[in-house]
């Protein structure tokens, strides 16, 4: 029941964020909506017991790549600057309260040791047993480099083509 509630919450946030990202006029706002969408997606991953993917999704996409995009957009100075998002003491207090709440949750989590999974899935016991026998890296690496080796290698070619293609298309002077 609670899982269903969180799924619907995250799904609405993910889809709504994606739609708002397309509809927003301000590129910075549109990017922040995308970040929200990614966070919601990570929430769904957690509901599926895919904690590692959820963490990587937040760190790599929402963290690194999108912040990089944000910097690029700000440096490019697209469009006239809009009014500031933070207005008045009220909003400032709300922001601090939200940040404090997240921090408090983190502290509680750290004190309690570990979280238990919310959904069914494989469950904490299976996960623990697997982590015991192979370690966290093994659980990820084994399927990646054994069962899914071929798509993994093709993906590396794909990324190489993307790099070469970007250079070919972005070269300043025509060859």
């Amino acid at each position: 029941m609670i899982v269903d509630f969180f799924f619907v919450l995250f799904a609405v946030m993910a889809v709504g964020g994606a739609a708002a990202m397309v509809l927003a006029r301000n590129p910075v706002a549109s990017l922040l909506y995308l970040v929200m969408s990614f966070f919601a997606l990570s929430g769904i991953f957690i509901l599926l017991d895919a904690h590692f993917i959820a963490a990587v999704n937040v760190i790599v996409y929402a963290g690194a790549i999108l912040v990089l995009f944000l910097f690029v957009i700000m440096l490019l100075n697209l469009g006239p600057s809009k009014r500031p998002d933070l207005r008045g003491t009220m909003y400032r207090m709300l922001g601090i309260a939200a940040a404090g709440a997240v921090f408090g949750l983190l502290l509680i989590t750290l004190r309690d040791g570990h979280t238990t999974s919310m959904a069914g899935g494989m469950g904490q016991a299976t996960m623990d047993a697997m982590l015991q026998s192979r370690g966290a890296v093994g659980v990820i690496a084994e399927p990646m480099f054994r069962s899914y080796l071929v798509p993994f290698e093709i993906t590396s070619l794909l990324l190489l083509v993307a790099i070469v293609g970007a250079i070919v298309l972005a070269r300043r002077r025509a060859p």
Binding site: M122, M130, V139, R146, L158, V164, V168, L169, R171, A174
Partner: protein, 513 residues
């Protein structure tokens, strides 16, 4: 040698031609940097020939695949004769495309190593797509092929049409990839696996129970592929992209990308998803009808030969879809045969267009072909053979291909499709023959610019291509026999027991310890 895919080394053998081609691509990229040093401008000629050598080596490696046997159907890559035949078609198209592109690349200053690298990588993607038996491999190889094609489309930095074509292609292609990926996700959700052998057995069960998730997944996968093979109404990007792209790239895309897309469609939809036939037959039937009628009518009104050939390439997707809809092994054989002939004739026709267009790719209009047949007899003669084959006139391979598609359609009970195929082919005669009329029965104007004489590589490859079309039309026995054997090899079979258990994502495979 028997491959059971229990160890990753087996994949190295199973993917031998792809590995050879990818290694050549990396080699080209590296030697290109070293031979260039600090100088700018075109690469030396041997860089291009290295790429050609790699393709020829991959052809040999592909023949060597016949030595291997993969008894189970558990691997991510198929080891049947259909894959080997499709690899021959794709590699042949790549070699032909490279031979015919040299003159053009030199003229437009595009003769740099990255071009060859991207062509080779596109070929690797096409071959993997044609042979994959796992939905993840289907997606990443499709992306490898598409990404290379997007960049190749925009390769001519001096031409704004090229950039426009690349942008349109990229946006529509990314949209289509989204459809395909969503379809794959739904199929995974409905069946619990991305391995096609497992998906098939689950589909058999799911189709009996009327699983809605499964039906939606199948429909989305079909739509995703329909974009890639430019079936009407998912063809909007094709005319602009084919017209704006550098002409040799257009020919290569029209042949290779379409061949790979059809190979995947034949393997995944008509064989692996055969239990869900009631879903896709209806969709593909309508796609085939529209794709035969609409582009043939629009092509009648085109004044640019390049754009006319783009519409003709869409129409050919319609003819090929008839073979897919038939869904029988005869239909698959006919589609394979027609794909082989089609890729040769379409690359040839686009190569002639690229040569006639002259510097800047500007003279592609119908009027630029006036009197060409008399002033450039070899070029004119080659163009006549390619166009007649595209139209499907008797002494050419195009006629034999269409005949077999017709037979397959009638045998499978799709008489309406066969009738539409014949009628639209008659309509298409007008726009193909109009070019021939201009070439031989109209005088060239006084100030007409004669196209540059083609180089040796072009002459050799174009003559070989034209001869191949004529020989397959006059003595089709061997080709038909091969296509029939291959088509039967691809027929749906009950899934055999697994040597490698299906592993859900993230769970270690315990049997490998």
């Amino acid at each position: 040698m028997i491959l059971d895919f229990s160890s990753p080394i087996d994949y190295l053998w199973a993917l031998l031609p792809e590995v050879v081609l990818a290694a050549t691509g990396l080699l080209v990229l590296v030697v290109d940097v070293f031979q260039r040093g600090s100088r700018s401008g075109p690469s030396r000629a041997w860089v291009g020939w290295t790429a050609v050598a790699g393709v020829l080596l991959a052809l040999v490696a592909n023949g060597y695949l016949l030595e291997f046997e993969a008894p189970g159907r558990s691997g991510m890559i198929a080891m049947d004769t259909f894959r080997i035949a499709m690899n021959f078609v794709i590699l042949g198209a790549t070699a032909l495309g490279l031979f015919l592109a040299f003159d053009y690349l030199r003229r437009e200053g595009m003769d740099i190593g990255e071009f060859y690298f991207l062509v080779l990588m596109a070929a690797v993607g096409m071959m993997l797509l044609a042979g994959s038996r796992d939905l993840i491999v289907v997606f990443v190889s499709l992306e490898l092929m598409s990404l290379s094609a997007y960049v190749l489309t925009g390769f001519n930095r001096k031409d704004p049409r090229s950039a426009e074509a690349a942008l349109k292609y990229f946006l529509m292609g990314a949209f289509a990839s989204g459809f395909l990926l969503y379809g794959i996700a739904l199929l995974f959700g409905a069946t619990g696996s991305t391995n096609l052998a497992l998906v098939t057995s689950e589909v058999t069960r799911g189709a009996q129970e009327g699983n809605l998730l499964l039906y939606a997944g199948v429909a989305l996968v079909v739509v995703g592929f329909a974009f890639k093979i430019s079936a009407v109404p998912f063809h909007m990007w094709t005319p602009d992209t084919y017209e704006g792209a550098p002409t040799p790239v257009t020919g290569y895309m029209a042949a290779g990308v379409k061949a790979a897309g059809f190979a995947a469609l034949l393997r995944i939809v008509t064989v692996e998803l055969a239990p869900a036939a009631e879903v896709w037959t209806e969709i593909l039937w309508w796609l085939a009808v529209l794709t035969m009628i609409v582009p043939n009518l629009i092509a009648l009104a085109q004044d640019s030969v390049k754009r006319m050939l783009a519409y003709s390439s869409i129409a050919h997707a319609g003819y090929l879809l008839v073979g897919v809809v038939a869904g029988s092994s005869a239909g698959r054989s006919a589609a394979l045969l027609y794909l082989a002939v089609y890729s040769v004739m379409t690359i040839g026709a686009f190569a002639v267009v690229g040569l006639v267009a002259g510097k800047g790719d500007s003279r592609t209009g119908l009027a630029d072909y006036r009197g060409l047949g008399w002033r450039r007899p070899l070029l004119g003669g080659l163009m006549v053979i390619f166009l007649l084959s595209l139209a499907g006139f008797p002494p050419t391979g195009g006629f034999i291909g269409k005949l077999y598609l017709l037979i397959a359609a009638v045998d499978a009970g799709h008489v309406a499709l066969a009738v539409i195929l014949v009628v639209t082919s008659f309509v298409s005669y007008y726009y193909y023959l109009r070019v021939i009329w201009k070439m031989y029965f109209e005088e060239a104007p006084e100030d007409a610019v004669l196209p540059a004489a083609p180089g040796g590589a072009f002459r050799l490859a174009a003559v070989v291509a034209a001869l191949a079309i004529l020989v397959s039309g006059l003595f089709p026995g061997r080709a038909i026999q091969t296509a029939e054997t291959v088509g039967q090899d691809l027929a749906p079979r009950p899934a055999t027991p697994f040597s490698q258990p299906a592993v859900p994502m993230g769970v270690p495979d315990t049997t490998t310890d």
